[in-house]
Symmetry: C2
Subunit: 499 residues, 2 copies
């Protein structure tokens, strides 16, 4: 059937929805939630059908398209499109096979990923794929094939340099903005490092959230290419383009149940590295109570898989297991973490030493991996680049290339409502719980409110006296500050024991 497009001016944020008048639906034998194909010239997409119950919304002869569909088809109000009912794609049968515990071959995985990117699968069908991978796991070969399919069904980017460095952190530790220190150091050494990061979903800040305090991060892929050509490094939000489009969709489906099937996590990380043609990748695996990885055995398994599968994909991957038992740095929340990073790069006295130490370790590992330094000498080069100010200069170049906001840490705006949380007894700090600290910062408004978060005055092993400030909570909303403080007063996240 031929329809005239009606721009209904609604976005779903993902799912592709088309709306047909009830009379046309009856005539064409279309039903709610049918899978239909909408074609305009050479562009074509699958959409799910809603029905307009009157002529007011979508009259007969029109097909209402939501923003996501308009964008894919590159059509406008009034364009002419063809609408056909679409059969169940073959990939649905492969998803069923995975759910039934079968190992999927290369072609079947390719078909599933292609259909995810083509929007041929519904959210329910894709959810079954995630459930199957979660349940039955993925074999090593499946992970390799999944990664390859994700890469070549998305955009890729090939920097000119022979060596391309990338870095990933498995996460779970608040304040851990190591990446924002490491990237300028690596680039200051003359290496290429096109870093794309995610925004936070449930933690107080992701690298993209924090970097956004200092510079634009939502840039098209053309801009990424230009920046890398000019300053050899960037720190941008990966969601602005489709380096691993299939993965972005799978992550959204994993989110509601916080599912992290190990094979999917590996494919997700490595696909994003492979898509920028990384040759050397450093993976940081924080280990400890309150981090994502809680046992050494699990950390070693991750390390082994990352390095082995990286190799099969033609990348040199080195995974380091680091201390993830407490927050890194003092600031927690986008602006507070960005300030720590600039302080560290400027060698300011207020720079958190744990952040510097970890950043030098990571940068040093990279220098040794690519052969910039002899074995055991990497940290020295990293320290030299940091203390000479070359790292900060590189950071300023990156910020300017991306679209500058702030380069001076004293100009960073913090939440106008503030409140101290104090020790209720004297003693030594035995533990700081990552999850509790994250929850308090999140309740204060981070990461949506970039100025919100926590600033810690104490770390593990420090001694405190009753009434001494443990941290300050910042928020732009008095109400959110009050809520965060009530949580902190119930449980500050600090375990203090005498003596």
């Amino acid at each position: 059937m031929i329809f005239k497009v009606q721009d209904v001016d609604i976005s779903t944020g993902g799912p592709l929805i088309a709306i047909m008048n009830h009379k046309d639906a009856l005539e064409g034998d279309f039903h709610y939630e049918d899978r239909i194909r909408v074609t305009h010239k050479k562009k074509s997409t699958i959409a799910i059908l809603d029905i307009s119950e009157s002529d007011k919304q979508v009259p007969s002869g029109r097909i209402g398209l939501m923003e996501e569909v308009l964008r894919i088809l590159e059509v406008r109000h009034g364009s002419i499109v063809k609408v056909e009912s679409e059969k169940t794609p073959q990939s649905v049968h492969y998803i069923r096979e995975k759910l039934d515990g079968k190992e999927l071959g290369k072609e079947k995985i390719e078909e599933i990923i292609k259909d995810i990117v083509n929007n041929s699968l519904t959210p329910v069908e894709m959810t079954y794929f995630v459930a199957g991978c979660y349940h039955k796991g993925l074999s090593r070969q499946e992970i390799v094939n999944l990664t390859k399919s994700i890469v070549h069904n998305g955009d890729t980017f090939k920097p000119k340099s022979k060596i391309v460095v990338d870095k990933h952190c498995v996460g779970g530790v608040p304040g851990n903005r190591t990446t924002m220190v490491v990237v300028p150091l690596v680039a200051a050494a003359g290496l290429t490092i096109p870093k794309t990061s995610s925004r936070s979903i449930t933690s107080p800040a992701g690298t993209a959230d924090s970097m956004e305090v200092l510079a634009e991060v939502s840039l098209p892929i053309e801009k990424l290419k230009r920046i890398i050509g000019k300053v050899h490094a960037c720190m941008i939000w990966g969601g602005a383009f489709s380096l691993a489009a299939a993965d972005d969709k799978l992550i959204r489906l994993r989110h509601p149940l916080s599912l992290d099937p190990i094979g999917m996590v590996l494919a997700s990380v490595l696909a994003k590295k492979k898509a920028v043609n990384a040759t050397h990748v450093l993976v940081d695996i924080p280990l400890g109570k309150g981090a994502k990885i809680q046992t050494r055995l699990e950390a070693l398994k991750f390390k082994h898989l990352f390095e082995g599968i990286g190799k099969e994909l033609g990348m040199k991957v080195k995974a380091i297991i680091t201390d993830g038992s407490q927050p890194i740095g003092n600031g927690i929340g986008p602006a507070l973490e960005a300030r720590d990073v600039l302080w560290a790069l400027q060698n300011n006295v207020r720079a958190p030493q744990d952040l510097i130490k970890k950043s030098l370790l990571a940068a040093g590992e990279i220098f040794e991996m690519v052969g910039k330094s002899e074995k055991g000498e990497g940290r020295k080069l990293a320290a030299q680049l940091l203390y000479s100010g070359e790292g900060y200069n590189k950071m300023v170049q990156i910020i300017k290339a991306q679209g500058p906001k702030v380069t001076d840490p004293s100009k960073i705006i913090l939440g106008k409502h503030r409140l101290h949380i104090r020790a209720t007894k004297s003693g030594t700090i035995r533990h700081i719980d990552n999850k509790t600290i994250s929850r308090i910062a999140w309740s204060a408004g981070a990461p949506v409110d970039k100025t919100a978060g926590l600033y810690l005055y104490k770390h593990k092993g420090n001694r405190v006296k009753t009434g001494e400030a443990l941290y300050t909570i910042y928020s732009d909303s008095r109400e959110k500050l009050r809520f965060a403080a009530s949580l902190a007063n119930k449980n500050s996240g600090f375990v203090i024991r005498f003596p």
Copy 2:
């Protein structure tokens, strides 16, 4: 935040969607796909958020609601509602537990089912529940609890009679309209049998589709109660009210991957029986090549579970294993099957003997189960009610009570385009494949086109000569008939072997 309702006149067919203006979303910190609670006076529901990108569709201060949401809240264009962001319900954690292989206790299952009925869970979250039940299976206790939760989170109906009969067929056999013969026979014996049926999704006809040729089947629950009070029997579509609302939603999610987790199937069937307070239930398990149940072991497992779990739910369930290796009756498709049923009840010479035989067996079992007949004497009573015309008279009463369309089989309208499919060789019919026959009838337009389908002239064991008609295909659409015929010419579904 307070909003004025905007009736956007769109239906999704299930999912609850609300649309907010992008400015309001920014101000209230709402995002795409957020779970929100919309409240109007004492009514309240969860909905998923879409965003209106301009003021044209949903202006600031308005909240666009799709039909399904308007219906639940009983609001209209211009009503005032409160909108809040809604936390993830606890049941999501229980779903995760099930996916992780844990057995769920009574309270957790209750919470999940309550939230399904309340619309507190998104389709993605519910899909994970189905995946968990599919993968890990349900224990006997979980099935019992799931059934109970489905029953008491939906409508129920208590007929006045002490004995309430129900019947279920596991399905997969085309043309098998036994229910439509059994119900009037059982009611003619003075028993109460409030039968609710489903429409077909993938087969050429469900009982509700076929019955709809003769009478109205989409009736409110009040009408069901009145009919049972008057004629003690009905055959109506269960989807018109919410006898097992949670189950209807779960079935929709099982459909895309054709998942039939045995525990969910049992809970689904038994909940619908328990909801009408059935005391005696006959379950027909067709067994054979091409039926749903293909091995005797599987059939026995089903029988055992149905009877055992029925008992735990306080119902006497008897399961019979029947021949499901070929279609039952001659007509396949809503109108053609309805005609077979009326012919059988009228003792017409054209009545298919296999349908009569199976119906008498089933009715006889019921009579013995409830104590209407001595052991071994049930079939005799059934035959007496059939041959005396009392069954047909009861059928006419039921049709009239529901809203009559046709009671005379010769008045049933069949597809105006017809075509014979003929034997391409002589010999004996060794097999008739249910799935192939179903696909051909479905391609001809059944069940949407009620007049479409197949009429068989031959059954297993019959001898045919080259060129002799095996069946006629009926359709209202010349195009669909041609398509169905092209399928039948490639594979008629009949296996003929010499001699």
